[in-house]
């Protein structure tokens, strides 16, 4: 552990990334403006800090106590001085406020034609849902296109933070928050969760992948939409497993036998299930398909009819993959 620590330490001394002394590289169109304001405030701060420290050190040296030296009376009030050192800082902070305000205005108004991606924060991973229904754990975007993120959370407050884009917005359960960015330079950019959310808060990472061109992005998107198609039949259940986690089944149906909002999937395949109306049904392909597309038709006894329908949200092949997964759970 110590050796690993030293190893990573020596690796990091080389430099933090290709950014500057204070800030990482600029990955979005708002970054230069934010950085400009940051540096302006920093230089103003350095100026006043040097002023104060130099005055301090000078006075401490010049008026230090020594034999024969006495304090000299001086005025305890000087209107000109006091007005000056009130008005000048006031003007400076007004300027800083104005720049911060107008900059934030730009940062919070997405352009009209922005490409929208839904973001879901949960303990402890991000899920990005694209307009065509693809769900992925990373954020893929085309270059040079404004992207609007619509965020929410499944459980506690998270926060989507991309330092290289200079953007951050909390993901709050029960509501939708939006932020936007435009990334012109292809590459990978780090996403962090910036609102403490428990044990794995610091490993709730993801990437923004800015593709080299819009067609390349479209190709990725189409492939992702059809990832099920790519799987060989014997691996289809793995696709089902992925869908189980990403499409919301996991929230209500456990895998270990515990009843949640919905019945557990453990060991149900091929068995009889008793229903609310007293009848019973065999858990087979037809029953599973029907329950996904028309969940109110046959509700298991002891559970409420609250499952939403996935009509239009899951393709046939995806339902097949899920069925294979249920079989696999035996």
């Amino acid at each position: 552990m110590l050796i690993d620590g030293i190893r990573s330490l020596t690796a990091s001394i080389g430099g933090i990334d290709s950014g500057g002394f204070w800030l990482p590289r600029q990955g979005s169109t708002v970054a230069p403006r934010v950085d400009g304001l940051f540096m302006a405030i920093t230089w103003i701060s350095i100026f006043f800090f040097v002023l104060i420290t130099v005055a301090l050190m000078y006075f401490v040296w010049k008026y230090r106590a020594r034999p024969g030296h006495e304090a000299e009376p001086s005025e305890t009030h000087n209107r000109t001085l006091e007005v000056t050192w009130t008005v000048i800082p006031l003007l400076i902070v007004i300027w800083i406020f104005w720049e911060g305000f107008t900059g934030a205005l730009d940062m919070s108004t997405p352009p009209q034609n922005a490409y929208e991606v839904q973001v879901l924060g949960q303990k402890w991973k991000w899920l990005f849902t694209y307009p065509n229904g693809v769900v992925d754990e990373n954020l893929h975007v085309p270059p040079g296109t404004p992207v609007r993120l619509v965020e929410t959370s499944q459980d506690v407050i998270h926060s989507l933070f991309v330092p290289e884009f200079r953007i951050k917005r909390d993901a709050v359960p029960g509501r939708y928050e939006t932020q936007w960015f435009q990334a012109d330079v292809p590459g990978e950019y780090q996403i962090f969760c910036a609102e403490y959310c428990g044990t794995q808060h610091s490993t709730m990472l993801a990437k923004v992948i800015v593709h080299r061109s819009a067609p390349e992005f479209e190709r990725w998107l189409a492939d992702a939409a059809n990832f099920i198609d790519k799987l060989p039949p014997e691996k289809l259940w793995e696709g089902g497993e992925k869908l189980y986690a990403q499409r919301g089944c996991k929230q209500c149906h456990s895998l270990d036998g515990t009843a949640g909002i919905g019945p557990s999937f453990k060991g149900i395949w091929g068995h009889q299930q008793s229903l609310r109306d007293g009848s019973s049904v065999l858990v087979d392909e037809n029953y599973v398909r029907e329950s996904i597309l028309n969940p109110q038709a046959k509700v298991v006894a002891g559970f409420e009819p609250v499952m939403p329908t996935f009509q239009g949200r899951l393709k046939d092949k995806e339902i097949t993959a899920l069925i294979e997964y249920l079989k696999h759970l035996q």
Binding site: F59, A65, T76, F101
Partner: protein, 559 residues
């Protein structure tokens, strides 16, 4: 004249000759049930410094864990509990009570020439409420800890299965301790001022404590109701912050910060009061801009209630709210900046003694300035989006809370130590300790500005390897700082046994506490003193026989 020297190690010291508040009565009961504000102040001092030790050890554990990415000495859950412990103990058990309860309780009645505070029994109750609150909080730690962060944001705090209720109930009780102290100080300053001490003849520490007390009385009840709501949510499932039941988790943040922002002014205003006293006395100069400093304390207290939303710029509150809070935040910055200029102007043409207290006072000017200036980055909306929830914020608030309030606390502790204990401490060790604290502090926290601006979020157990060099430097700084504190504890404790007896007025102050022996008698003053200008030192002359200052007329009579 030279700076006053402290005890030389090894020279036996004569105990203070007269009967004083320490020797007035003996036994556990005479302390536990005391109504003497001086004894209550001493008990608070021991209690809050013990909390500082506990919080400090938690900080060292956190910094040690952060030496390497991934696991160093503890797992993620323990780490989360450790930074929660650090924050909650430091904020609620140390900094908020700190200067008002430990130093203020002792000094305030003395500065007023009074025999005690207005409500001595209430004062004792404040202390025991602190003890009760601390028991709940520490008990929660022993029972397994809390992992929500000291801010207890919902829904995480309402759904985690750690000991949240015990901890926040303890904080609730601590809130009452704070409220009653504030209430006591307001009434004391209004009703127990001596003849001749109008508002504008009070020492500035009293303006500072008064403003602080206003905030304590008005803001802390809101924390109380917030914590009650949180307990109701956890214990009874009320659902006021739960979106599944129609509640709003961001409402919690509004309630919480409505108190906790004014709370930071509870931390810094008394600190500024101490600095006004220390800088003026040790530079032998009348404070510059008295009226401004006094009135700005009240103004900061008032304006401090209007800016809580600047903790929530990315929480989802409206853009309009963001703009208003940002504008108001900058307005609060100006009075604080002007105070720094006033203190600097006080040094002009002074006769500056570099006693340990003054070293900390000057240190305050540097570190508080850095903290305040970095507030500009955070108050500005466009830059705050990038910097909030990162180590930049952690560095900023440590510079103002630690580099501001704690450094001022140390200044005040050293400044009033002779008055409280009747002993002088070793000034050379004092200056070494101050140097260690200064170097260690800046090393620890300046690097964290860079960590934050490069994008390292806060409350992170694990981090990307590219950040490691900063964390290592920061942690080394924390060890240097710790060494400074342990040294300080050593020479202060040593002075209790071997320190040279303190004269009535070692530093040459003119506020009324310096007109009574060190330590003071049980009743504070043999005769109620006359109020004078507390910042007029022209009649005070150093007397090397006693090692302190005497009034010129007395001195000449003796000669």
């Amino acid at each position: 004249m030279d700076t006053v020297e402290g005890a030389r190690i090894g020279r036996p010291a004569a105990p203070p000759a007269r009967d004083n508040y320490l020797t007035h009565s003996a036994g556990f009961g005479s302390w536990a049930f005391t109504l003497d504000h001086k004894r209550i102040g001493v008990m608070y001092l021991v209690a809050t410094l013990s909390s500082f030790l506990l919080g400090g050890l938690a900080a060292l554990a956190v910094r040690t864990e952060l030496l390497t990415p991934g696991r160093t000495i503890m797992d993620a859950d323990t780490y989360n509990k450790m930074f929660t412990l650090h924050g909650a103990v430091m904020v609620f058990l140390f900094i908020i009570p700190g200067i008002p309860a430990a130093l203020g309780n002792f000094v305030l009645p003395l500065m007023l020439g009074a025999k005690d505070v207005a409500f001595p029994r209430l004062n004792l109750m404040s202390f025991w409420l602190w003890i009760l609150g601390a028991c709940f909080a520490v008990g929660a730690v022993i029972a397994g800890g809390v992992d929500t962060g000291w801010t207890f944001y919902t829904p995480y705090s309402t759904t985690t299965n750690t000991n949240v209720i015990a901890t926040i109930f303890g904080v609730f009780i601590l809130g009452f301790s704070s409220i009653f102290t504030g209430l006591n100080f307001i009434v004391t300053i209004h009703k127990l001022r001596p003849v001749g001490m109008t508002w504008f003849k009070m020492p500035l520490l009293l303006w500072a404590l008064y403003s602080t007390a206003l905030i304590q009385v008005l803001a802390t009840p809101v924390l109380g109701i917030t914590l009650l709501l949180l307990i109701a949510e956890r214990a009874l499932g009320v659902g006021i912050f739960d979106p599944a039941l129609g509640g709003d988790p961001v409402l919690y943040q509004h309630f919480f910060w409505f108190y906790s922002h004014p709370a930071v002014y509870i931390m810094i205003l008394p600190a500024m009061g101490v600095i006004s006293e220390v800088i003026s006395i040790h530079a032998r100069k009348h404070i510059f801009g008295y009226r401004f400093i006094g009135l700005s304390s009240v103004a900061i207290a008032a304006f401090g209630f209007l800016v809580w939303g600047h903790h929530m710029f990315v929480s989802g509150q409206s853009g309009m709210a963001n703009v208003i809070f940002s504008a108001l935040t900058f307005s609060v910055a100006i009075p604080s900046a002007i105070k720094v200029f006033n203190w600097l102007a006080t040094l002009y043409k002074g006769n500056i003694q570099l006693n340990t207290a003054m070293c900390y006072g000057l240190m305050f000017l540097i570190t508080f300035t850095i903290g305040g200036l970095t507030g500009l980055h955070l108050g500005s909306l466009a830059t705050d989006v990038h910097l909030t929830d990162t180590y930049f914020v952690v560095a900023h608030f440590h510079y103002v809370m630690f580099g501001g309030a704690v450094v001022a606390f140390l200044a005040g502790l050293h400044h009033w130590w002779p008055k409280m204990t009747g002993r002088m401490f070793d000034e050379r060790l004092g200056r070494v300790g101050a140097a260690l604290v200064f170097v260690g502090f800046n090393t620890t926290f300046f690097t964290q500005f860079m960590l934050g601006s490069h994008g390292m979020p806060r409350r992170y157990y694990d981090y990307l390897p590219k950040f490691q060099i900063y964390h290592v430097i920061s942690s080394i700084g924390s060890y240097v700082m710790a060494a400074g504190f342990f040294l300080t504890a050593y020479y202060l404790l040593h002075s209790l046994f071997r320190g040279r007896p303190a004269p009535m007025n070692p530093w040459g102050g003119n506020s009324l506490e310096w007109h009574t022996p060190s330590p003071p008698p049980h009743d504070n003053f043999a005769e109620t003193p006359l109020a004078e200008d507390p910042y007029d030192y022209t009649h005070l002359v150093y007397d090397s026989a006693t090692g302190g200052y005497l009034s010129k007329s007395y001195h000449e009579a003796e000669a």
